[in-house]
């Protein structure tokens, strides 16, 4: 007892100093994050406004309005938007199909587990999977040619261009949609449908007046997340497209790996900054919609 009595006031007195030493425990984490996350971010942000010999310039940012870079941004946005929309609609349908199944059934568990895996499936392996399927000597290409005499590439090889990228991207967009949209669908209560029916509403009215508006923020938010996901993707496109740089991540690859044009040493950083801004705007809107979803369907 006596011991406790003597030590207790001591700890109270030591408390302010301890705050400082407590912070010391987080030093390794903060130092690491500073070196490998904060500094690279600052390099991009500051580098975008730096000239070849140092000093501030807007030349890099101005160069972003060159037609080939604007085109690449446009194609990136088109690719992300289309693959996000297709992914959102098909993924939303799949999620709805799962919700109508038994909640703890085998089907739902298998599909959600598979979606979790496939949403992470991207990059080189995905590109090769599609090359094996609809590449020039791919399984489906050959089969269609031999059995139905359909030539997939009668109008040119579209696999290595924007349409091909859209198709390949949907492969990871649909599963991602299932993962992010399923919780919102689970938030819809059967009582709401019963209430609509007891008031004489039809199925059409239920979907357009009750469930649709309730799900709209979640659906839009998930679509935005899919957009950001496709917009930041690099590896799949890099493995698939070896000629030219149709989209902005591949333009950045070009800026990093090829001979640097004089006066455009930091152009890659400006393009990277442009990407970050697009993703930041999209994710900002996403978190606003997310808050609304949490309020309505939480």
């Amino acid at each position: 007892m006596a011991e406790i009595a003597t030590t207790a006031p001591q700890t109270v007195a030591r408390r302010p100093r301890l705050r400082g030493t407590a912070l010391l425990g987080t030093v390794p984490f903060f130092a690491y994050v500073a070196i490998f996350l904060i500094i690279p971010t600052l390099v991009v942000v500051i580098g975008a406004f730096a000239g070849d010999g140092g000093g501030m310039t807007f030349a890099n940012v101005k160069a972003l309005t060159d037609s080939y870079i604007l085109d690449a941004f446009g194609r990136s946005i088109l690719l992300s938007a289309v693959s996000a929309l297709v992914g959102a609609v098909l993924g939303g349908l799949l999620a709805y199909a799962l919700v109508t199944a038994k909640p703890r059934g085998v089907l739902r568990r298998i599909v959600t587990a598979a979606a979790g895996v496939l949403a992470q499936f991207g990059g080189v392996t995905l590109a090769f999977a599609f090359l094996a399927t609809i590449g020039l000597s791919g399984f489906l290409t050959v089969w269609l040619h031999d059995h139905l005499s359909i030539d997939l590439y009668a109008n040119g090889v579209w696999l290595f261009e924007l349409p091909g990228l859209i198709l390949v991207y949907t492969y990871f967009q649909i599963p991602l949609m299932v993962i992010v949209f399923l919780p919102a669908l689970d938030g819809i209560r059967p009582q709401w449908r019963e209430a609509t029916e007891s008031l004489g509403g039809t199925t059409w009215q239920y979907w357009t007046r009750v469930a649709g508006p309730l799900l709209a923020p979640a659906f839009l938010g998930s679509t935005l997340l899919l957009f950001a996901n496709a917009f930041s993707a690099y590896a799949t496109a890099a493995a698939l497209v070896s000629q030219g740089s149709p989209i902005i991540p591949l333009q950045i690859r070009g800026a990093l790996t090829s001979e640097v044009v004089l006066g455009q040493q930091n152009l890659g950083k400006a393009m990277a900054l442009g990407m970050v801004l697009v993703v930041a705007v999209v994710m900002g809107m996403y978190s606003l919609l997310e808050r609304r979803t949490a309020k309505w369907l939480g």
Partner: protein
């Protein structure tokens, strides 16, 4: 009313199976095509499982596989050493900076890997200066990449237990802070730590962007390289890598399920 419900249920069943079958074909076809494509040459699979011959025939591929395994193990280790004590410490002693730590950990989600590479290039110039240019140095960048996923997992694990009470009990029995973290809190968040490590391994095994643009090698870089010379072999390796990731992540999700279901009765 019962008739309406029965009709709706059967309509939903039809819709469910149509959606599942159509999308099932879309998702299974590329996998089936990979199997077909990789078996066109009967030598491919026997070669792939024969490590000495494989590393003799495709030295780049063997090097990539070894590099990826090393990177995956070390990234999981570095992530745990860096994140677990910090997450516990912040919860116990510095709740005020928890938001800041969370923000920093989730930040890599909003920075595309291709952007991170642009900024990492000068940092890696210093890494090369101090530690050399080995592919193993990619671990530093990968630890940042896995931070969001690992943090979420560990944070969820910590939220599920009463860290403060555990720590106070241990402290009042005379335990030092190291004992509290290593022998009291850590065993209680074992499954969260394990799933964070699993996720890290799965992510690192699939990483391509940073490795290829910093001119290092790993599994994905060597597969991409192999695709230029031997299409059949590269598809076979892709399929193997994919199945490995499937197994890892399926184990993870089963693991997560078990954690949830054991918690429910309580």
């Amino acid at each position: 009313m019962a008739g309406v419900n029965a009709r709706r249920a059967s309509r939903q069943r039809v819709l469910r199976w149509v959606v599942l079958i159509v999308l099932g074909i879309f998702f299974l076809l590329p996998l089936a095509a990979m199997v077909e494509f990789s078996t066109r040459d009967s030598q491919t699979w026997p070669l792939l499982v024969n490590w000495p011959r494989l590393s003799g025939t495709y030295p780049d591929l063997a090097e990539g596989i070894v590099a990826s395994l090393e990177q995956a193990g070390l990234t999981a280790l570095l992530m745990l050493v860096l994140l677990v004590p910090t997450a516990i410490w912040v919860r116990l002693r510095l709740p005020r900076i928890r938001r800041l730590v969370e923000f920093l950990c989730l930040l890599p989600l909003t920075i595309p890997a291709i952007v991170l590479v642009v900024g990492l290039a000068p940092v890696y110039a210093w890494v090369v200066y101090f530690l050399g240019g080995s592919s193993i140095t990619l671990v530093f960048a990968y630890t940042i990449l896995v931070l969001p996923y690992a943090y979420r997992s560990i944070d969820a694990g910590l939220a599920a237990i009463d860290v403060k009470t555990l720590a106070e009990a241990a402290r009042s029995l005379g335990a030092g802070w190291t004992t509290v973290i290593v022998r009291v809190v850590l065993p209680n968040i074992r499954s969260a730590v394990l799933s964070a490590a699993f996720l890290s391994v799965a992510l690192v095994l699939g990483e391509y962007t940073i490795a290829s643009l910093l001119n290092r090698t790993n599994l994905q870089v060597s597969i991409a390289l192999l695709g230029k010379s031997s299409a059949t072999m590269s598809v076979a390796v892709s399929l193997t890598a994919l199945l490995l990731a499937f197994v890892l992540l399926l184990l993870l999700s089963l693991f997560g399920d078990r954690r949830k279901s054991t918690k429910e009765p309580a």
